[in-house]
C-alpha cells in the first residue's frame, strides 16, 4: 500500500485513451485524492501516440512526479515509446491482442485482456476503454463507486442501454486483474476523509488563469487562437460575456493587442492570451502601451520555440523576450505563475499591477502548466482586492495626463469623462501629453516611466514575493521560476529530510527584479543553481545582469527537450552541485 502513485495510459490518439484517463482522474478527485496530471501530445492532428499521466496521492501534490509506477499500454507503440520510462518496480499492463513485450524487457509486465473482455461482455470493441478503467480502479484499490457514477453521468445522454453496456464492461473489468500478487504494491491508501471536499476543484493551469482573470476584473479579451493558449480565449469566450464583458476573436495577434490597448484606454481591464509567435507580433504595441502608459495584461503560455517550434511542448524561453521584447526601452512588469493554483493568483495580481502602474504586464505560464490538471483549493471571490488606476481630480485643457510624480504614476481619467479631453500618443510627449522632442523633456519622461518600476521594486523588496526559503547554514541554493516551483520545492523538502540543507528562491515577479532580495538570498551561498527549462539560462543572465552576485558561484542547469523537469532530474542537478 502506498500514498502516492503515478500511472500512465498511452495509446492511439482519438481512441479513448485520454478520456479513459480523464474519468480515472475525476474519480480519484471525487474520492478525495489529490491529483496532478500531465499530457503528451502527438505531432499529428488526430491519431498518433497520445499519453496521459495521472499522479494521485493522499497528500497534496506539487509535481508531475517521476516515471510511471503503472503503465497501461493500449498498443505496441505505447509499449515501445513509454515502456522504458518506468519507475523502479514499475509494472507494465498491456493488452496481448495489441502488443507484445520485448524479450529482455526489464520491468514486470502483466497482460490484460482488454479487447477480449470487452467483446465477451458487450460485443463492442470501444468498451475496452471502460475495461481498462475498471482494471486501473481495481489495481489502485479505489472505491469503485466514483468511477461508476461518472460512467453513468457520461453515457446518460445516450440512453439506458449504452449506460448498461458500459457498466457491464466496468464490472467485468474490475475482475480481470484480480489475484496477481505483484499488483499488491500498487494499492493506494484511501483518503482520510473520503469524497471530494467542497473547497477543492480540479482545473488546468489555463482554466485557473482564466478564472483569475475574471476575478481580476478582466472585462475585455481580444485574442487569436494559438496552441497552447487557445483554451484561455475559448474559456473567456464562453464565460466572460456572462460577467458583462466582451470577447473578440481578432484577425491576428496585432489586432488582438491593438483591441486590448484600445479597450483599456477606453476604461476596460483588458487581456490577451498567446504564445511565442503571437507574442512576437505584439511586440510593437506592447512597447506603445508602455510609452502611452496604458494598462494591459498579456498572458504568454510558453511553448517550445522559436518560430513554430513544437507547439504542444513546453519551454521557459520567453523570459528575456518578455522583458526586452520591444525595440527601444519600454518598462513593463513580468510575472511568472508557478503552479496551477498560482495561475489564478498571478492573473489577479497582473490586472492589479497593470492598473496601478499603468503599464503592460506580461504573465508567463507554459504548456506543461497550462495543460496539466491539478486539484487545488477553490479560490473565493470575496476578499479579493482590486486596484484601479488612480483617477485625476481635475480635468480640462491643463490636465497633466502624464504628470511627473514621485512614484512615476500619473492620475488619469477614462475617455468619455465629461469635461475632459487629452491626447495619448506614442510619440515622446510632455506631461500634458503633447508631442515634445526636447532633450530635457525626453530625459525626464523616460525617467518618469521607469520610476514606476523602481516603485514596484521597492515594494517587492519590502513585502517579499514567491518562495524565499533560505534556512540558516545552507551553502547551496537553487533558484527557479515559473512552473518548476512545485518540483523544486518537493525535491528540496526531500533532501532536507535526508539532511542536505538547500535554500530555494522562486520569485514570481521577474521584472523588476527585487535586487536587494536576490542579494540577500545569494550572499550567504557558496553556490547557486539557476534551473530553467531553456538553453541559454535566461534568468541566470537576467540576475547577473542586474545583481552583483559577489563571490557566489552561479551554476546553470538547463533543459530544453520540450518536457518539464521531473523531480529526479532536479534531484540529480542538485546532487551534482551540493
Amino acid at each position: 500500500m502506498r500514498n502516492d502513485i503515478t500511472i500512465r495510459i498511452a495509446g492511439e490518439g482519438g481512441e479513448g485513451v485520454i478520456s479513459t484517463a480523464e474519468i480515472l482522474t475525476r474519480a480519484a478527485v471525487n474520492s478525495g485524492l489529490d491529483v496532478f496530471t500531465f499530457r503528451s501530445y502527438p505531432a499529428e492532428i488526430k491519431g498518433g501516440l497520445a499519453m496521459m499521466q495521472v499522479r494521485m496521492s493522499t497528500e497534496p501534490l506539487t509535481s508531475i512526479g517521476r516515471d510511471a509506477d503503472v503503465l497501461m499500454a493500449f498498443n505496441q507503440e505505447a509499449i515501445d515509446v513509454w515502456g522504458d520510462r518506468m519507475s523502479p518496480g514499475g509494472i507494465l499492463l498491456y493488452d496481448p491482442r495489441h502488443g507484445s513485450v520485448p524479450p529482455d524487457y526489464p520491468f514486470a509486465h502483466i497482460p490484460v485482456p482488454l479487447h477480449e473482455t470487452a467483446m465477451k461482455e458487450t460485443g463492442a470493441r470501444i468498451s475496452k476503454n471502460i475495461v481498462a478503467l475498471a482494471s486501473m480502479v481495481n489495481v489502485l484499490d479505489m472505491a469503485p463507486e466514483y468511477a461508476r457514477d461518472l460512467i453513468v453521468k457520461q453515457f446518460k445522454r445516450k440512453g439506458d442501454e449504452v449506460v448498461g453496456t458500459n457498466l457491464k464492461a466496468f464490472e467485468a473489468g474490475l475482475g480481470v486483474l484480480n489475484g496477481d500478487p505483484r499488483l499488491q504494491a500498487m494499492r493506494l491508501a484511501r483518503p482520510a476523509s473520503p469524497g471530494k471536499s467542497d473547497d477543492r476543484m480540479i482545473v488546468s493551469g489555463n482554466q485557473s488563469l482564466s478564472m483569475g482573470a475574471i476575478a481580476g476584473g478582466c472585462r475585455f479579451v481580444g485574442g487569436y487562437p494559438i496552441t497552447p493558449a487557445t483554451q484561455v480565449l475559448e474559456f473567456m469566450m464562453k464565460h466572460l460575456p456572462a460577467f458583462g464583458g466582451n470577447v473578440v476573436q481578432c484577425e491576428d495577434e496585432i489586432a488582438a493587442i491593438a483591441a486590448c490597448m484600445g479597450a483599456s484606454w477606453a476604461g476596460a481591464r483588458a487581456m490577451t492570451a498567446t504564445s511565442g509567435p503571437g507574442l512576437c507580433l505584439m511586440s510593437e504595441l506592447i512597447g506603445m502601451a508602455s510609452m502611452c502608459e496604458i494598462p494591459l495584461v498579456i498572458a504568454d503560455v510558453m511553448r517550445s520555440g522559436p518560430a513554430t517550434g513544437m507547439p504542444t511542448k513546453t519551454e521557459q524561453a520567453d523570459l528575456m523576450y518578455a522583458i526586452h521584447g520591444s525595440a527601444g526601452e519600454s518598462p513593463r512588469i513580468v510575472l511568472a505563475a508557478t503552479s496551477v493554483e498560482n495561475c489564478f493568483q498571478e492573473a489577479v495580481r497582473a490586472f492589479n499591477l497593470a492598473e496601478r502602474f499603468q503599464m503592460p504586464v506580461i504573465l508567463l505560464s507554459d504548456q506543461s502548466m497550462g495543460y496539466r490538471t491539478k486539484t487545488i483549493m477553490r479560490p473565493r471571490a470575496d476578499g479579493l482586492r482590486l486596484d484601479e488606476r488612480v483617477r485625476a481630480k481635475t480635468s480640462g485643457d491643463a490636465f497633466r495626463r502624464f504628470e511627473d510624480t514621485e512614484t512615476g504614476v500619473s492620475p488619469t481619467m477614462i475617455p468619455g469623462t465629461p469635461g475632459g479631453t487629452f491626447v495619448t500618443t506614442g510619440l515622446e510627449h510632455d506631461e500634458l501629453g503633447h508631442a515634445s522632442y526636447t532633450p530635457e523633456n525626453r530625459a525626464r519622461m523616460v525617467n518618469k516611466r521607469y520610476r514606476k518600476l523602481d516603485t514596484l521594486r521597492r515594494e517587492l523588496e519590502a513585502d517579499g514575493d514567491g518562495i524565499f526559503d533560505a534556512p540558516r547554514g545552507a551553502e547551496v541554493g537553487i533558484i527557479g521560476w515559473g512552473s518548476t516551483e512545485g518540483t523544486i520545492a518537493e525535491v528540496v523538502a526531500k533532501l532536507r529530510g535526508e539532511g542536505v540543507n538547500i535554500a530555494h528562491y522562486h520569485p514570481r515577479v521577474l521584472n523588476p527584479l527585487p535586487v536587494e532580495t536576490v542579494k540577500r538570498f545569494v550572499a550567504p551561498l557558496k553556490k547557486v543553481i539557476v534551473l530553467e527549462e531553456n538553453y541559454t539560462g535566461q534568468l541566470a543572465q537576467h540576475l547577473r545582469g542586474h545583481v552583483d552576485l559577489g563571490k557566489t558561484e552561479v551554476v546553470r542547469v538547463n533543459q530544453c527537450s520540450g518536457l518539464p523537469f521531473t523531480p529526479d532530474e532536479v534531484n540529480a542537478a542538485i546532487a551534482a552541485n551540493a
Binding site: 480540479i202 478564472m211 473578440v248 496585432i254 491593438a258 484606454w265 483588458a270 471571490a381 495619448t424 508631442a435
Partner: protein, 285 residues
C-alpha cells in the same frame, strides 16, 4: 468650454497648431471635420479619435477630444477595442493611404465583418508624406518617387471597390478642397449605424506633383443625383467608372447589425446559459 452652449466649428479645434506644410490637403479635412462636429453638436468629451502614423495621423492632436495616436496601421483595430469597451463614445479613425491600405490594410475586411459603429476617414494623398515621398498603394502608375526612381510600374489599388467587396455598409469619397461636401459626408458617415469609410483625396503639395489640387479639380465629379446608394451593384459600377472620378456616397446600407448589437446578443445568450458570478463559475469545477 461649457458643454451645453452651442458649439461652433472652431470650438472643436484645440490650441495645438498643425505641423502640416502650408497648403497641405489635410487642412481642408480638418476644417470639414470640425464643421461636421458642429453640425452634429457632439460633446467634445464624447468624441474619441484614434489615428495612425503619417502626416495625416497627427489629425487627432488638433481636435478637442479624447485622442489616441497609435502605431502605423493599427488605428482601426485599436478603435474596435475602444468602441467595444466604451460604446457611448463617437469613435473616429483617421489615417493615411499608406497607414490604412498598405500596412494596415489587413484589418479592413475584418472590421467590415464586425461592423462596429465607427467612422474611418482615410486621408489619401497617394504618397507617403511623413517619410518624405515614397509610393503608396494609391500612387498612380508611372509616378517617380524615392522608391520608384524609374517610375512606378504597379497599378494603384482601387479602395472603393475593395471596401464594397468587404461588405462595408457605408462607402464614400470626398475631396479635401470641397470642405462643405466633406463635412456633409462625414456627418452622414457618423449617422450611419455601423462601420463607415470615407476616402478623402487630400493632395500633398510637398511630395506629390502628380495628384495635385489642380489635377484633382479637373477630374472630380459629384455622383449623379440619380445614383442609388442602396444598390451594391450601382455602387460597384460607379466605383469602376473609368471616365469619371466620382465623389459622394457610393453605398449605404443601414440595416446591417452593428458589432455592439451583436456583442449584446452574445452577452444575453451567455448570461442565459452560463454562471454570472465567480463563485458560481468556480463551483462548476
Amino acid at each position: 468650454m461649457p458643454e451645453a452652449a452651442l458649439q461652433k466649428a472652431k470650438d472643436y479645434k484645440n490650441d495645438v497648431e498643425p505641423i502640416w506644410c502650408p497648403g497641405c490637403g489635410d487642412f481642408g479635412d480638418l476644417a470639414a471635420f470640425t464643421q461636421a462636429l458642429a453640425a452634429m453638436q457632439l460633446t467634445t468629451s464624447d468624441i474619441a479619435i484614434v489615428s495612425g502614423i503619417g502626416c495625416s495621423g497627427r489629425f487627432s492632436h488638433f481636435i478637442k477630444s479624447y485622442a489616441l495616436h497609435t502605431a502605423h496601421g493599427r488605428a482601426l483595430p485599436t478603435a474596435v477595442g475602444v468602441k467595444t469597451a466604451n460604446p457611448k463614445l463617437t469613435v473616429f479613425v483617421v489615417g493615411g493611404d499608406g497607414d490604412g491600405l498598405s500596412i494596415g490594410g489587413g484589418h479592413l475586411p475584418h472590421a467590415a465583418r464586425r461592423n462596429p459603429d465607427i467612422t474611418y476617414l482615410i486621408l489619401d494623398n497617394a504618397i507617403y508624406g511623413l517619410t518624405k515621398g515614397q509610393t503608396s498603394p494609391t500612387s498612380p502608375f508611372g509616378m517617380v518617387t524615392g522608391t520608384s526612381p524609374t517610375g512606378l510600374e504597379d497599378p494603384p489599388l482601387d479602395p472603393l471597390r475593395m471596401f464594397l467587396s468587404y461588405g462595408v455598409g457605408f462607402v464614400a469619397r470626398g475631396f479635401s478642397s470641397d470642405v462643405k461636401g466633406v463635412a456633409k459626408m462625414v456627418q452622414a458617415a457618423v449617422e450611419h449605424p455601423g462601420f463607415s469609410i470615407v476616402q478623402l483625396i487630400s493632395p500633398c503639395p510637398t511630395f506629390n506633383q502628380v495628384i495635385t489640387f489642380d489635377f484633382m479639380k479637373e477630374r472630380v465629379v459629384p455622383l449623379p443625383e440619380s445614383h442609388d446608394a442602396t444598390s451594391l451593384d450601382a455602387a460597384f459600377r460607379m466605383a469602376l467608372d473609368a471616365e469619371h472620378f466620382y465623389t459622394g456616397v457610393f453605398y449605404r446600407n443601414d440595416s446591417l447589425p452593428t458589432m455592439e448589437a451583436k456583442l449584446d446578443v452574445q452577452r444575453k445568450h451567455t448570461m442565459d446559459r452560463q454562471p454570472r458570478t465567480l463563485d458560481a463559475l468556480i463551483a462548476q469545477y
